[in-house]
């Protein structure tokens, strides 16, 4: 296990690379999720407002 982490002396370089790769993946997983949540929230709110207006219009 120690040898594995040690990476033949290149530990810093190898693990920094993989960590950065992980960060890129995480950031790019989070972005679309946030965009989706945002859009759905906005659209649902709009829909609710529309329905409320329709109801208030019908006598």
């Amino acid at each position: 296990m120690g040898d594995f982490l040690h990476m033949g002396g290149y530990a810093f370089y190898v693990w920094a690379s993989y960590l950065l790769g992980l960060i890129v993946v995480v950031v790019n997983l989070w972005q679309p999720r946030r965009a989706e949540r945002e859009v759905w929230r906005q659209l649902k709110r709009r829909r609710r407002n529309e329905e409320r207006m329709n109801e208030s219009e019908t006598p």
Partner: protein
């Protein structure tokens, strides 16, 4: 003749098939990514000369490949957008840019991290790193132009022209940098440019490359779909979609 393309690219249709594609791409990327990491970190041998640092290649090379692949996608989508006036192509291009820039950045930094133990310096002006740096500027310029123009359709079309001009220039830039690099590098090692072709090393490389590609497809499609919903908010199909999900659920 192009009716099928228009049908495929109509917002509603696109939303339909892209969802399934994104999901498949996501799971595929996860599976291949886990397999790739296993082979990259455990089940592949260290290099004869570079030792364990060769494992950086399994992050660096896929990132570099993807940085180019994504730009090609942006250019292709830009062409479709300008020729067939497809909004969906615009959105896919815009959605691809940030992740493309991220992969370019990843390629540059891992290139440095790979180079430091090998060449002794954090940065070296070799052909690949220099080309990647210029590619990063191309991405940032594209993203900058998209965000600088307020009117969304104008921004998309201007960015499309920029992407096409960029893609024409990329071979010219690559060739120039190659020529410049061979002129000034002399004895600098260029063997790192070509990855080892031993199957034990090719396997993790291909797995990581495929995993990253599928990951990109998933991310770009999801971002494009979110933008599509926002822009088509007034249409009937979006309204029906929302109604179908009122009171909870996502997607």
């Amino acid at each position: 003749m192009w009716a099928w393309l228009h049908r495929l690219g109509s917002p509603k249709r696109f939303y339909g098939w892209s969802g399934a594609l994104a999901r498949w791409a996501g799971w595929g990327s996860l599976l291949l990514g886990v397999a790739g990491l296993y082979y990259a970190l455990f089940a592949s041998p260290p290099d004869y000369q570079q030792g364990e640092s060769v494992r950086i290649m399994y992050v660096h090379v896929p990132a570099a490949w993807l940085s180019m692949f994504i730009y090609m996608n942006i250019a292709f989508a830009s062409l479709i957008s300008l020729v067939w006036r497809m909004k969906v192509a615009d959105m896919f291009a815009a959605a691809s840019a940030p992740i493309g820039a991220w992969f370019t950045f990843l390629a540059l930094v891992t290139g440095s991290l790979w180079g430091k133990p090998m060449w002794g310096t954090w940065w070296i002006w070799d052909a690949r790193l220099t080309s990647e740096l210029i590619l990063l500027f191309l991405y940032l310029g594209y993203i900058g132009l998209l965000s600088a123009i307020e009117e969304r359709d104008t921004a998309a079309r201007a960015a499309a022209v920029l992407a096409l001009v960029g893609v024409v220039n990329i071979p010219i830039i690559h060739y120039s940098v190659e020529w410049w690099s061979t002129l000034h590098q002399g004895a600098t090692v260029t063997k790192f440019e070509k990855p080892s072709i031993a199957w034990t090393m090719l396997r993790p490389l291909l797995l990581m490359a495929l995993a990253s590609t599928l990951f990109y497809i998933m991310v770009a499609l999801r971002l494009a779909r979110a933008e599509l919903l926002r822009r088509e908010a007034d249409s009937t199909w979006v309204r029906e979609l929302i109604d179908g999900h009122q009171g909870g659920g996502n997607r």
